[in-house]
Symmetry: C2
Subunit: 333 residues, 2 copies
């Protein structure tokens, strides 16, 4: 196993310590239980925004804590749901009295543990709204999921709802942005190689030198089909068609196109992918009003990519353009 780690069991803790050391102006790292909150949390008068899930998807979620995005993130062990305790402590820590929104990716453990944490927090008088993200069109049920998995739309929901919360939005308004993003976004991914979970030490799955997995999950869980490697343009078409079929965007609509690297894919390839995405969307009569290209929701060192398309309206465009300052995503003030 070739990794820049010390003891595999210390990866999450040490990585969080590194995050805290690198960005003391933005985040505050708590250990045992592990959670990351915005420096100076809670922000008086602001609705709190919390997400979390297994580690190994960095910069998501801890890298999105800061100004204009998340108030708190709860990182589990690698590819393992955070405990109710982590989520509960984090939620309390960011609560300013106006309520807290939980953004939950649709994995059975995450959903269950966020539910328990929400009950605990509500028991202490903190109002919670939980929104489950399930944007992955690849499979209806999977190894870790009843229903569709939550993937790339999570990043967009965290940015957009974060902007609404930063602008003083109410608990219901912030939750509504998350719901809208989930309704208006669809994703699908693929992998060229497996990843290796540090504590396991061997590849999550075997894949031939000339094969790829279409519809892969962000934990390396199986997708739609294993097939021979194809040129990038054909791969894009394989991902984009099911996304667009399900999205229901009409010609003339505006979209955000998000090309995401799985962790081990170089930027030069992501732009080759983006080129085809732009070409196909134009052919469909869709206008790319905003875009995001990079490795934002990853699967450790997996090589591959995912595509997320979000239907935009004026509200979402304006929330997208609002400043965001986090370790993993930043623009504006």
């Amino acid at each position: 196993m070739k990794k820049l780690v010390n003891r595999p069991e210390d990866v999450v803790r040490e990585s969080l310590q590194g995050l805290g050391a690198a960005h003391p102006d933005l985040v505050e790292v708590h250990l045992d239980p592990h959670y990351v909150v915005r420096a100076g949390a809670p922000v008086a008068g602001k609705v709190g925004l919390v997400s979390g899930g297994g580690s190994g998807h960095e910069p998501m979620h801890a890298g999105y804590v800061g100004r204009g995005m998340l108030d708190g993130a709860c990182p589990g062990e690698v590819f393992t749901s955070p405990t109710p305790d982590q989520i509960y402590e984090c939620t309390k820590r960011v609560s300013s009295g106006r309520g807290v929104v939980h953004i939950v990716k649709n994995y059975t453990g995450d959903v269950m543990n966020f539910e328990m944490a929400a009950e605990m927090a509500q028991g202490e008088g903190i109002e919670i709204r939980s929104v489950v993200i399930n944007d992955d069109v690849a499979v209806e049920d999977s190894l870790y999921t009843a229903g569709r998995r939550g993937v790339g739309a999570t990043v967009l929901a965290e940015k957009l709802a974060g902007a609404r919360a930063e602008a003083g939005g109410s608990l219901e308004e912030v939750a509504d942005v998350v719901r809208k993003v989930n309704d208006h976004a669809r994703s699908m991914g693929m992998a060229l190689t497996s990843c290796i979970v540090p504590a396991v030490g061997k590849p999550t799955f075997d894949i031939g030198d000339d094969e790829m997995e279409i519809g892969i999950g962000i934990h390396g869980e199986p997708g739609r089909q294993r097939m021979k490697l194809e040129p990038a343009d054909q791969i894009v078409d394989r991902l984009l068609e099911p996304i667009l079929d399900d999205l229901g965007a009409r010609p003339g609509e505006r979209v955000l196109a998000f090309v995401n690297g799985m962790g081990g894919t170089p930027t030069i390839e992501l732009y080759v992918v983006y080129r085809r995405v732009a070409e196909r969307l134009r052919q469909r009569g869709l206008t790319i009003e905003r875009s995001l290209v990079g490795s934002y929701i990853t699967s450790l060192e997996m090589a591959g990519c995912s595509i997320t398309i979000l239907r935009l309206d004026d509200e979402l465009v304006s929330l997208w353009d609002a400043p965001v300052v986090t370790p993993g995503l930043r623009w504006g003030a």
Copy 2:
């Protein structure tokens, strides 16, 4: 060869087309010869800032074209110097009459071709200052270099000199910032795996499952030593000691710590590395005033990292904090 590409010979062109499609507000992509300039170039009254080199190091350099960083970038084929023609055309395109600074990484082909392009541009009355970056302490001469190689300091020089140019700096002032960064920065890298040049189709070098290469170059060229894989903290110490010995920073000094991923290394590992870097610098009595953690100067999908330490003064801190808006690096307005 597992890559998201179409024909290997089209990777650079198609990736640039993707870059242009994704960021029409920031960059303008020219093909045959290939170069990328800031949207709306030249900027009236502004000193131009141009860099370039082989492709495969993205986001460097084309991803650093925009506001507050480069005016132009000249991407060669993968790991191949750009031609004098590319550099000359790019230089002309960004020249507003106040002169153009060339930032050149110290590789024989780059140095030679930038020199020829500078002569051509000067022949047309464009004043040029060329500054060669050679911050890599790993080796004195290498496969492609007489003298030290230019690596991570290039990213910092492009950001910092870009800020000086944006603020109206003169040709000499902008070149002076590049010189200062090169004088005040030292770097060293390591690799866990090789990369594969698309047109070659097989790994640049062979490396055992339990081995690493210390002092690797950004084209996979050999470094100081091949050795057994060690824990991350020991690897950091192996990179940091030669950097600090050469840097000559005194206790109490302020530095920028830059932990860079080589392309295939996940973010979670880069923060494990950063944790140790911060610990060691503190032990040395150095204050990390600014930091940068991510994959900013890469070697395709190589797994590994490099560390760059830059000695800061008030001028450099203020230039670092100035807004930058490029596809690969952005903060502020």
